[in-house]
Symmetry: C2
Subunit: 184 residues, 2 copies
DNA sequence: CGCCATTATGCAACTTGTTGCATAATGGCG
DNA sequence: CGCCATTATGCAACAAGTTGCATAATGGCG
């Protein structure tokens, strides 16, 4: 139920073609709702059929040619309705935690190396988020919209900090199996 | 790729029937890899066909009757191989963050109430995890397996703390729209 | 026995997300 | 023009997860 609403949000921020949406997802909305271009095109088709978006008149309906979409009033209404919904947080689903649990049963040579690898990846992601924060949310930008968008980004930052903290503590708690731990 | 391995892990900890697995998932593994009984039965069938598990000889193959499974050597080997895999962390996918982003565009009356509701739910979940920690991981239990399982639970605890922290800060940062904020 | 709640297994249809590939326009270069 | 890289749209098959329901055994109760 979320992808169409992610697309509506992106299109309201700026009318775009399928590929443009894909690129914007990679840089922004995709940080908390990722998607491929195939999924986006499929969803754009459904949204158009449902009368929630339409192709801009300028865009010819030919295959290899850009086709830009904009949100119709029905689409905005649908998005508003969705925002107002209550929805319980879902249980997490994390393969790394699952693998650690499995490791408790079948053993885990090299698990510490995998944890270190993840730690590095999360540090990189955190650095990226912090760079975006510095660029997009200087103190003087403080409208209601900016504050909400900033909070969303803050969610990403806090989440990376959670992983970094947990992984660091986990590495303290399990024995090293790889080559010299001091040289990592 | 994860559910079959979650099932193998659970079956290695203790041979079980489909419904027993479902219940154990609800209480334990399901905290980070949830599943329904339908999915579990389907997966048990596939694992049996693949020669990774087998029904215990005592269990008659009749429809309304309990059928217990145990892991075969091939299953244990498959699980070990999976544990040794590298797998990058996936992007988060969170509808609440998405809704907040949408709210920045179409407005969000009542969003603060939803955040407060989530905050309460996460506090409850945290309390549940802490109770489990106290019950299952007293200081004297400190085998390698216990430490790994405890780390997994710690992941859940830390994650709830992340949400509680973020939601609290978010509520500080957006205006209250509901009835008297001081009486919440 | 007949009725019913509970325990238990399982199928089918659907939705969502992923992977691989096909097709079409456009513009640069020789 | 022919060739090719790039941009762009899109289909099809598959995998994973969800929802709704069907079926079967068992044990308690009248």
């Amino acid at each position: 139920m979320s992808l169409p609403h992610a697309i509506l949000t992106a299109l309201l921020e700026k009318p775009s073609s399928g590929l443009e949406l894909t690129r914007r997802f990679d840089r922004s909305i995709g940080y908390f709702w990722s998607s491929t271009h195939q999924q986006i095109y499929r969803e754009l088709g459904k949204l158009e059929q449902a009368g929630q978006i339409r192709a801009l008149p300028s865009a010819q309906p030919a295959r290899g040619q850009k086709k830009e979409y904009e949100v119709l009033p029905a689409g905005r209404a649908a998005l508003s309705a969705w925002v107002a919904l209550r929805e319980d947080p879902k249980q997490i689903r994390d393969p790394l935690l699952l693998r650690m649990r499995a490791a408790a049963v079948v053993g885990a040579p090299g698990l510490d190396a995998e944890l270190r690898r993840h730690l590095e990846l999360h540090r990189k992601q955190l650095a990226e988020y912090l760079a975006i924060e510095e660029r997009d949310f200087p103190p003087e930008r403080n409208s209601e919209e900016d504050r909400l968008r900033h909070l969303v980004l803050r969610g990403g930052i806090d989440l990376e900090n959670f992983w970094i903290g947990w992984l660091t503590r986990a590495l303290d708690g399990i024995p090293a199996t790889g080559s010299s731990p001091s040289a990592g």
